[in-house]
Symmetry: C2
Subunit: 269 residues, 2 copies
């Protein structure tokens, strides 16, 4: 392990529960010598990545991170950060994929990507996703703030014959999403389109958006469904990471239970 890695590892020990760490505690957490740990902390401090609380002498994350994060956001905005993931997802599924972001109480389309594989394909041309009628929307209802469900239940606009029109029908669909970890829309928004989606999360593990795959109903079968779900898991992990978020453990468990294990994907190279 390079000394650079050893130094950088120290930064990973900070968390909401442990925002400040003294030299000795850091030394124990890292399992390294005190002198080594001290020099590493010094190096990090020079660049403002960490700083010392002048009162307690404890170390904490530093101000330089704010500038760097701002520059990162400027360099790779959320749309760009999701781009390669939905392209890859379109490739492995052969279907149209898209990402949406939650802003306030609205789920906005951010970007979409069509696959070349089939001549018939779904086309995403909506700017705002109806929460009760789309797979991405169901993800929002299942994993977003509680008030969303009330709002959605108050406005159950019918799009197709399958669109859930009663509060109970919607609640049951949402419960299904909460259980499986995947949003599912079988022709509820457009009659001949079947969609699956997975939630995306922010830094606090709160719902931040959704990634989804829209498949032509006639070629939707259990094998494709499984391929899509596996692809969604990988895409959600990837986009969530690129947005600086983290997928909560319980969601990972739901995915694993739904897919029956074997959800481990190769780590991005």
């Amino acid at each position: 392990m390079s000394s650079v890695s050893k130094a950088l590892e120290l930064m990973t020990f900070f968390s909401g529960a442990r925002p400040e760490i003294g030299l000795s505690e850091m030394r124990r957490l890292a399992g390294r010598d005190k002198a080594t740990t001290y020099r590493h902390l010094q190096a990090l401090q020079v660049f403002g990545l960490i700083e010392q609380n002048p009162e307690t002498k404890n170390y904490r994350l530093g101000p330089a991170l704010l500038q760097l994060a701002q520059l990162r956001e400027q360099t790779v905005p959320r749309k760009a950060a999701a781009r390669t993931a939905i392209q890859r997802l379109a490739e492995v599924t052969g279907e149209t994929t898209h990402v949406s972001v939650m802003s306030g109480n609205t789920l906005y389309a951010l970007d979409s990507c069509e696959s070349e594989k089939h001549s018939t394909r779904a086309i995403i041309d909506i700017a705002i996703f109806p929460l009760h009628a789309t797979a991405s929307g169901l993800c929002a209802l299942a994993f977003g703030t509680a008030d969303l469900l009330e709002m959605a239940q108050a406005d159950l606009k019918p799009f197709t014959a399958s669109t859930p029109l009663t509060q109970d029908a919607l609640a049951s669909a949402v419960a299904d999403v909460r259980r499986s970890g995947f949003g599912k829309s079988l022709g509820t928004f457009e009659a001949d389109i079947h969609s699956l989606s997975a939630p995306l999360f922010d830094q606090d593990g709160h719902f931040a958006g959704a990634v989804s795959v829209a498949s032509v109903a006639t070629r939707f079968d259990p094998a494709l469904e499984r391929t899509i779900m596996q692809g969604l898991v990988a895409a959600s992990r990837d986009i969530t990471k690129n947005w600086g978020g983290r997928v909560p453990q319980n969601i990972e468990h739901k995915w694993e239970a739904t897919l029956g294990g074997h959800t481990e994907m190769e780590h991005a190279t």
Copy 2:
């Protein structure tokens, strides 16, 4: 120079003008061997501090910065980040100091600190700073968005006999602040208080707030004024840094011109 520092230095080469950097260019910027540079980049990449643009193979700042920055903000909110600076400023000046933040079109008091040095001292008990009558407010008018001045000129409330009451009087005071880099209020808000202030800046170099010193008028003299201004410069640099911002070059030049050189302060240890 430790190899940790050498690795971390690589991150400082990213900027708005140069958001992505290839291996060879990075090697040249750092003035180091290609293999070394490559290994350092790898180490940074493992921790998500940088990542590679998959298309161009160029390196750019990574997603981990978003999480770290968020945790930093959570650990050290703006008020706490300004605390030690205004304490030190109160010490070296022997006067009452305070910080304010710009939010929308309003300048809010964030924190203040009284010095023990004199038995008579200024007390800051306002929550919102009137822009035309306080030193901090004049900083906002001088360095904030242009619409602030119009708003302030439309509401020239008189506080003391010295409060500027005409648009011209205010415009001239603001011009003075723009020239010198310091806000100055000689009894314009409270008759027996003389205040000086310096602007604070965000990541983009935009006005973000002000730090100021309120002195009892009877002991205000050129020597104290100079001490205060020097202290303000150090405090503004410090707070701005802790908020993840940067003091624009032209402001530094103004301070230097006003103080006649010798504004270099010891760097924070």
